[in-house]
C-alpha cells in the first residue's frame, strides 16, 4: 500500500540552525505514528513543514503521491491535512461553537459563499455540535474560547481538527496540561480514529505511557534528524532513545508509580 504522506530529505534551516535535517519518512493509512524526541528536536517544526506553516529549505512533501511542496498551509488543509497545535491556537473572541463550526465550514462546498446565510448551512452546525459532544465541550458551546480553562482549550483545539475531517491527523501533544480524568477522553477519541482504519495519524507526545498505549510505530527525532524508526518496544528500548530522550533507565521511572 502506498504511503499517504511522505517526506523526502525534508530540511529547514533558520540561519545557521538546522531545525529539521534531511528527514525522509512515510506514513500509512490506518496507522498511528508517534514522533518523539527531546525538546527542540524539531518535532513541531517537522509538523509545520508537512502542514505548510513553514516552507522547507529543501526536500519534498508528498500527499497521496503528489508533490505538495509548493502548496501553502491553506492548500494542504484543503487536501486533507489536519493539524492541532502545541501552543493552543484558537479564535479567542468567537464562541466555542463558532470555532468548531468554522472548521466544519472549511470543508464545505459553499464555504466562501457571499450571499447565502451561514445559519442556513445546518449540516455544518450539526457537525460542529457532534464533535463538541465528542470532546465533552457541548456545555460551553456559547462561551468565548478565550475564557476557557487551559485544559478545555486543548480539547477545543482537538475538536477543531476533528471537525475538519481530514485524511491526515497531526496531534501535537494533545494532552499536555490536561487533567488526568480528561486524558482518557482524548485517548479514546484517537483510538476511535485509529479503529476507522483509513486515517493517517501522527502524534507528538512526551508521555511515554500514552505513546506506548497508542502507537503502532515510533519515529525518533534528535537535533532535527531522524535517528530511530520502528516498533514501539524496540525503539523505546534502543540506547539512543534511552540516553538522549528518557535520560534514565525507564524501569526506574515506572517503578515510582507502578
Amino acid at each position: 500500500m502506498p504511503p499517504v504522506l511522505e517526506t523526502r530529505d525534508l530540511t529547514i534551516r533558520f540561519g545557521g540552525h538546522v531545525a529539521v535535517d534531511g528527514v525522509s519518512c512515510a506514513f500509512h493509512a490506518g496507522t498511528l505514528t508517534a514522533i518523539v524526541g527531546p525538546n527542540g528536536a524539531g518535532k513541531t517544526t517537522y509538523f509545520n513543514l508537512m502542514s505548510g506553516q513553514l516552507a522547507a529549505t529543501s526536500g519534498q512533501t508528498l500527499l497521496d503521491g503528489d508533490d505538495i511542496s509548493a502548496l501553502g498551509a491553506a492548500g494542504r488543509a484543503q487536501r486533507g491535512i489536519g493539524r492541532a497545535f502545541q501552543i493552543t491556537n484558537l479564535f479567542p473572541n468567537l464562541t466555542v461553537g463558532e470555532n468548531v463550526r468554522l472548521a466544519a465550514q472549511a470543508r464545505g462546498r459553499a464555504k466562501a459563499s457571499l450571499l447565502s446565510l451561514w445559519s442556513s448551512h445546518r449540516d455544518w452546525i450539526a457537525k460542529a455540535d457532534h464533535y463538541l459532544e465528542e470532546v465533552n465541550l457541548s456545555g460551553v458551546r456559547d462561551t468565548l474560547a478565550a475564557a476557557l480553562p487551559h485544559g478545555d482549550k486543548r480539547k477545543l483545539e482537538v475538536a477543531i481538527m476533528m471537525a475538519l475531517e481530514p485524511q491526515v491527523f497531526m496531534f501535537d501533544e494533545p494532552t499536555a496540561g490536561m487533567s488526568v480524568d480528561e486524558v482518557p477522553v482524548i485517548l479514546d477519541l484517537i483510538r476511535k480514529l485509529k479503529a476507522d482504519g483509513t486515517k493517517t495519524i501522527l502524534l507528538v507526545e512526551h508521555k511515554m505511557d500514552v505513546v506506548r498505549s497508542l502507537a503502532d510505530r515510533i519515529v525518533v527525532l534528535h537535533n532535527g534528524r531522524l535517528v530511530a524508526d520502528g516498533e514501539p518496544a524496540e525503539v523505546i528500548a534502543s540506547p539512543v532513545v534511552q540516553e538522549a530522550y528518557l535520560g534514565q533507565a525507564p524501569k526506574a521511572v515506572e517503578a515510582t508509580h507502578g
Binding site: N39, G151, D152, S179, D181, H206, H257
Partner: protein, 240 residues
C-alpha cells in the same frame, strides 16, 4: 507547625461577572513544596493569579510572611519575594533568551554560578542564548519560563504546570533540581503530572469548583489510590 509563609483565608475571586474562586483556604508552611491538584477549570490558575495580584480577590485575605498582600499591586507582591511561572509561559517573544533572563534578575546581573546551574538544568537555553525567545520550541519556552523564576533566590515560587511539554529526560533533571530548590525556598506547584507531583510534593491540596476540597500530606495521597480515584478521577495504571 511554624508560622505559615502564605495564607489564603476565604478568598473569593470574580472574573467579570463570573464567580471563580468561592472561598479558598490555604496555608503554605515555610520551606518545602505544596502541590495544588484539580481537574481542568477547578480554579488552580486563578488561585495563583490571585496570589500574584493579577486578579484582585473580591473577598478574603491573602497574607505573605505575616503581611497582607491581597489587593496590593502586582509589582509590590513580586518585590516581596514571590516569583511566578504562568501557565502560558509568557516569555517575551521579541526579546532574546538572554534579555529575558536580564529582566528576571531584578537586582543586577545573574550570578554566574547560578546561571551555570540553570544551564546544566536546561542546556537548550545556553544554545539559544542570543535567539529571540519567540523561536524556541514549546518545551524550551517552558524551560525559559522556569529559568526566569529561579534566576535569583526568591522566598516563594508559584509554578503553573511546569512539566507541560517537557521531555522525560528533562523532567528527571527537573525533579532533581526542584528537590534542591525547595530546600532554600517554598514552592507552590500546580501540576497535572501526578508522578512528578508525588515525587516532589510535601503537602497537597486538591481543588474543585473554586474551593479546596482536600488538604494533607502528599505521601498520604500517593499511598491511597482510592482517595486519588475519588479526588482526581485518575487511574494510575494507564495514565501518569
Amino acid at each position: 507547625m511554624a508560622e505559615p509563609l502564605l495564607t489564603l483565608e476565604g478568598v473569593h475571586t470574580h472574573i467579570g461577572q463570573y464567580h471563580i474562586l468561592q472561598g479558598v483556604d490555604l496555608a503554605l508552611p515555610k520551606g518545602g513544596m505544596t502541590v495544588l491538584l484539580g481537574r481542568n477549570g477547578a480554579g488552580k490558575t486563578t488561585t495563583l493569579r490571585t496570589i500574584m495580584g493579577l486578579w484582585k480577590p473580591s473577598r478574603g485575605t491573602v497574607s505573605f510572611a505575616g503581611r497582607p498582600i491581597g489587593g496590593l499591586p502586582t509589582p509590590d507582591i513580586a518585590q516581596a519575594g514571590i516569583a511566578y511561572v504562568p501557565e502560558t509561559m509568557a516569555v517575551f517573544a521579541d526579546l532574546t533568551v538572554a534579555e529575558n533572563m536580564v529582566l528576571a534578575a531584578r537586582s543586577g546581573p545573574v550570578d554566574p554560578a547560578r546561571l551555570d546551574w540553570i544551564f546544566g538544568l536546561f542546556p537548550a537555553l545556553k544554545k539559544f542564548w542570543q535567539f529571540p525567545a519567540g523561536v524556541l520550541s514549546g518545551g524550551q519556552k517552558q524551560m525559559l519560563a522556569i529559568a526566569r523564576a529561579i534566576a535569583e533566590p526568591r522566598t516563594l515560587i508559584l509554578i503553573d504546570e511546569p512539566t507541560k511539554g517537557i521531555a522525560p529526560a528533562i523532567i528527571e533533571a527537573m525533579i532533581t533540581a526542584f528537590a534542591e530548590l525547595k530546600r532554600e525556598t517554598t514552592i507552590l506547584l500546580v501540576e497535572q503530572n501526578f508522578r512528578f507531583a508525588a515525587s516532589l510534593g510535601d503537602h497537597v491540596a486538591v481543588m474543585d469548583d473554586g474551593r479546596i476540597v482536600h488538604r494533607g500530606a502528599m505521601a498520604d495521597l500517593a499511598r491511597d489510590e482510592a482517595l486519588q480515584q475519588r479526588l482526581l478521577g485518575l487511574s494510575l495504571d494507564t495514565h501518569q
